[in-house]
């Protein structure tokens, strides 16, 4: 297993510019820094390491192809890449028609929340760029009331619509929407200070 490498400040500052200049080494460095997080998101959504790594590979190829579409003024790079990872993973989940089976597995396994210490894999904090961000996001989620955190997780990591969440939780649709709005407001307030940590 290779642990992610740290990026120097200088490298971080020029990474996107080098990617746009079609520098393959920059893609390698981006991979080193972000692949663990991309795979983590994909594993969380798909529940399968092999599928998640396949998705992660597709994500970095897509980042390479679409880097010119990334507008730094509209948002940082890391969330952009994470959103690609999430969308790809959800697409794979739907495409392979395992949606219900996977979600039921998550329910049975009690991993519907954020207990994602995946399969005995543990990374040393110091080895992972972005770990402080992870802690902050995790903490922000943890401070949400249980019912709000649950709807956020179902919406983000399982790609459920409001109506599907309502059906899953046996709650009125209006209640689900209200919880999501409240959760989003709290997360926005808690994470508004976050800056991109890679570029």
């Amino acid at each position: 297993m290779s642990l992610p490498k740290r990026l120097s400040q200088e490298e971080q500052g020029t990474l996107v510019r080098r990617l746009k200049a079609r520098d393959e080494r920059a893609l390698g460095e981006l991979f080193d820094a972000l692949a663990p997080w991309v795979v983590g998101v994909a594993v969380r959504i798909l529940g399968d390491v092999d599928e998640a790594e396949e998705v992660a590979g597709d994500v970095f190829v897509q980042v390479w192809r679409r880097i010119d579409q990334h507008d730094a003024s509209r948002g940082p790079l890391v969330p952009w890449i994470l959103s690609i990872a999430r969308n790809r993973a959800l697409d794979a989940l739907r495409r392979r028609r395992r949606w219900w089976r996977k979600t039921e597995q998550w329910e049975r396994g009690g991993r519907g929340e954020l207990g994602v210490a995946e399969q005995g894999i543990a990374l040393h904090e110091a080895a992972v760029p972005g770990w402080p961000v992870h802690r902050e996001v995790h903490a922000a989620l943890a401070t949400l009331p249980e019912e709000q955190r649950r709807v956020v997780v179902l919406a983000y990591f399982e790609g459920l619509t409001h109506r599907e969440i309502a059906r899953r939780l046996a709650q009125p649709l209006g209640t689900v929407k209200t919880r999501l709005r409240s959760a989003q407001a709290k997360l926005t307030e808690a994470l508004s200070h976050l800056k991109d940590w890679i570029a």
């Binding site: 994470l82 959103s83 990374l123 961000v133």
Partner: protein
């Protein structure tokens, strides 16, 4: 702010070879435009060649069918000339370019057609041709221009003029390759029927 939610999940390192696979895929994608262009050129060339071949085959088929129709019609004409009791055979010995040959006319007096066969005539100069004439009371009327570029016998069929004065005979002269309105060159034969 939900864009950051992906960071809530603990990281998981990918297998070691994944980065190499990604970079290989990226390199392949960078080479792909050239391959696509080359493939497109090949497809265009094959498509163009195929189109040209199809058109050529169609044109050749049309030409073959046309020739077959003409050959069949000529065969019918020859058979009618030879076997019809109304056919009159006229054989005219001629001398051209120091050699002796003959012009044979099968005259169908019912169908008003002639079949003319030339044997042993000297090939024409590049700017000349044999021209066959009908002799009528009103004078010579051009019947056919018969350029001969080889030693091979030449056969042609003619429709006799139905209007105007009746045909009294035939003549042949050597004229410019484009033909003349009246015989001006050396006369090969002149025969009243």
């Amino acid at each position: 702010m939900t864009d950051w939610l992906g960071m809530a999940v603990p990281p998981r390192p990918p297998r070691a070879e994944l980065q190499g696979l990604v970079l290989a895929q990226v390199r392949a994608a960078r080479r792909r435009p050239w391959r696509l262009a080359a493939a497109a050129l090949v497809v265009l060339a094959l498509g163009g060649g195929g189109l040209w071949a199809a058109r050529t085959v169609r044109a050749l088929r049309f030409e073959r069918d046309d020739l077959a129709r003409r050959a069949a019609a000529l065969g019918d004409t020859v058979a009618a000339f030879i076997h019809s009791p109304a056919t009159r055979l006229i054989q005219i010995p001629v001398s051209t370019g120091g050699r002796v040959g003959s012009v044979t006319i099968f005259a169908d007096t019912v169908g008003h057609r002639w079949l003319v066969r030339c044997d042993g005539l000297a090939p024409n100069a590049a700017d000349q041709a044999y021209q066959l004439w009908f002799i009528t009371r009103d004078g010579m009327r051009s019947a056919a221009l018969m350029p001969m570029d080889s030693e091979a016998p030449m056969v042609t069929t003619l429709e006799m003029p139905r209007a105007g004065a009746p045909v009294l005979g035939a003549a042949m002269s050597i004229e410019p390759r484009v033909g003349s309105s009246a015989p001006r060159g050396p006369m090969v034969f002149h025969l009243l029927l």
